[in-house]
């Protein structure tokens, strides 16, 4: 297993968290049991107000418990035994799961899964690559896997939004695209404004999130470090990196997914192929 990059922000944050973890109480399973009361509160409200979702709340809470226990166990094993190859394999597997989820948003578009997968993989590799090569994060599984998860998740959301927008464009703006094609414009030029709209639409959430970070809510990474006992002024360094990392992941994934989907939308004769509404 490779060591943390000497002097990296991650190494600093990890050391800080480790050094203070003993002073920060970690909830026991008993405490988790107590928190179940909060689920009962939600169920009681649903039952009392006859919302008809009491059962759904119970199932969701149970699923969350089971899923998190399972993933905790898997991660513990991965951190102990996987090494860098295992960590990368895990992140790679996550890209497939993410692409499959993203594909649903582009249902009707040809080769939506392939486009999403390409976008998510390129966005993830580019972002993680810069962070690793730049010495910002280490290649330890306990760093690569959670950071990779954040990147893949962001890439997936960007990819989904891009596909949703492109699908809408291909259906609703077909007359405009065909009007441009009819003038002899190449497909890429005829579709340029639709592509711009898709990428812009995909980037809006992360740009908004980046703009208001810390003002409306404390983001997850920073919150986790603070709870683990890290000084807030040091925790924000990690958060800044995460925000910038996500900006890049969203932008690269949105653009690559949109370009790949655009390629599949036109045939060899530069015609917009039929797209199911």
């Amino acid at each position: 297993m490779s060591a943390a990059v000497p002097g990296s922000l991650v190494q600093g944050a990890t050391m800080l968290a480790t050094s203070t973890a003993s002073t920060t109480p970690i909830p026991s399973w008993g405490a988790v049991g107590v928190s179940l009361l909060l689920v009962l509160v939600a169920v009681a409200i649903a039952w009392r107000q006859q919302l008809g979702i009491s059962r759904e709340i119970v199932v969701a809470a149970a699923r969350a418990l089971v899923q998190l226990v399972a993933i905790g166990a898997v991660l513990a094993w991965l951190f102990a035994h996987a090494g860098i190859a295992g960590a990368l394999a895990w992140v790679f597997a996550m890209t497939f799961v993410a692409a499959n989820e993203s594909r649903r948003r582009g249902r009707g578009l040809p080769h939506a899964f392939r486009s999403a997968l390409l976008g998510i993989i390129v966005g993830t590799v580019a972002t993680l690559g810069v962070l690793v090569v730049g010495g910002v994060i280490s290649t330890e599984p306990q760093v690569l896997i959670p950071i990779g998860g954040m990147v893949v998740s962001g890439a997936m959301q960007a990819s989904s939004l891009a596909l949703t927008s492109l699908h809408r464009s291909a259906v609703e703006n077909r007359p405009a695209v065909e009007a441009a094609l009819s003038l002899g414009l190449p497909a890429r030029q005829a579709f340029a404004s639709e592509l711009r709209t898709a990428v812009r639409t995909a980037l809006v959430p992360t740009v908004d999130q980046t703009r208001v970070v810390g003002l409306i809510s404390l983001p997850g990474t920073m919150t986790g470090l603070i709870i683990a006992g890290v000084d807030p002024l040091q925790a924000i360094r990690y958060q800044i990196i995460v925000m910038y990392m996500l900006l890049a992941a969203w932008a690269v994934s949105a653009l690559v997914t949109a370009r790949a989907a655009e390629g599949a939308l036109f045939d060899d004769a530069q015609r917009l192929v039929p797209v199911a509404a």
Partner: protein, 271 residues
């Protein structure tokens, strides 16, 4: 309208069939469209006339048969070059930019200001009144004429117009028709699709009438009894060709004279 002189062939459709999802849209269709004149393709909704137009600049390809442009199969031509030589103006006039001059320059970005003004004048939009305006603020007729200017900007050899007046009030439609007549008068070839055969015939020298994907009548607009032809349902392999001397004998409106090839090859006519 006098019978137009024979001009060089612009497009030829040879035994063209087009099927989409198992449905036959065009059925073994043969047609010849000539240069320097306006040809109207008329027929009821669903007759395949707009689809036929899309074949001419490869927005669609036939399932079988060939589309020939100036003697060459369109599939052998560079598709972007073909579309600039035979520009299709879709039925729904759509603005692609937020400025009239930019709209004219969509496919001809290097066009000089004077040329933009000249093109606007050519489609009877006074440049002084329209330059600087947002195309989305124009009326349907004005936008249709702007779309014609946008198409003319690439200096096409032929305009393919899909129902250019169908969404317009009579006055706006007349203005668009005047522009089309003027362009044809300048020697530009126009292929015009319309469900309004009388309006189309008033603009076009030649008319082709489609029913259920088949040509049921063709000829100079002055020689055809258009209303009658349009109302007549198709018969197997039967077509009225106003240029065919047999059409003038006996059955004036519906001869049994199909294209030579069809007479021999159409399996429906083979005993």
């Amino acid at each position: 309208m006098p019978t137009p002189p024979l001009t060089p062939e612009l497009f030829a459709l040879e035994d063209v069939t087009l099927e989409i999802g198992g449905r036959r849209i065009l059925d073994r269709l043969d047609a010849h469209l000539h240069d320097g004149v306006a040809t109207a393709i008329a027929g009821p909704s669903g007759s395949g006339k707009s689809t036929l137009l899309r074949l001419l600049n490869r927005l669609a390809d036939p399932t079988s048969g060939r589309v020939i442009f100036r003697g060459r199969d369109v599939r052998d031509l560079d598709v972007l070059d073909l579309r600039r030589r035979a520009v299709l103006v879709p039925q729904r006039a759509v603005a692609l930019t937020g400025d009239v001059a930019a709209e004219v320059r969509v496919a001809a970005p290097a066009l000089a200001d004077a040329d933009v003004s000249a093109l606007l004048s050519r489609v009877m939009l006074e440049p002084g009144d329209y330059l600087g305006r947002d195309p989305h603020s124009l009326s349907g007729g004005e936008l249709q004429r702007l779309c014609l200017a946008r198409a003319l900007a690439v200096a096409p050899e032929c305009l393919l117009l899909d129902e250019p007046t169908s969404a317009l009030d009579p006055r706006s439609a007349d203005a668009v028709d005047d522009v089309i007549r003027s362009l044809v008068g300048d020697g530009l070839a126009v292929v015009l699709v319309s469900h309004d055969v009388r309006r189309a015939a008033a603009v076009a020298q030649n008319v082709l009438i489609l029913h259920e994907g088949r040509v049921t009548a063709r000829g100079p607009s002055s020689d055809l009894d258009l209303e009658h032809e349009l109302l007549m349902p198709p018969h197997d392999g039967h077509e009225h060709d106003a240029d065919d001397p047999r059409a003038h004998d006996g059955d004036r409106h519906r001869s049994h004279g199909h294209d030579e090839q069809d007479e021999h090859d159409d399996p429906k006519e083979t005993p």
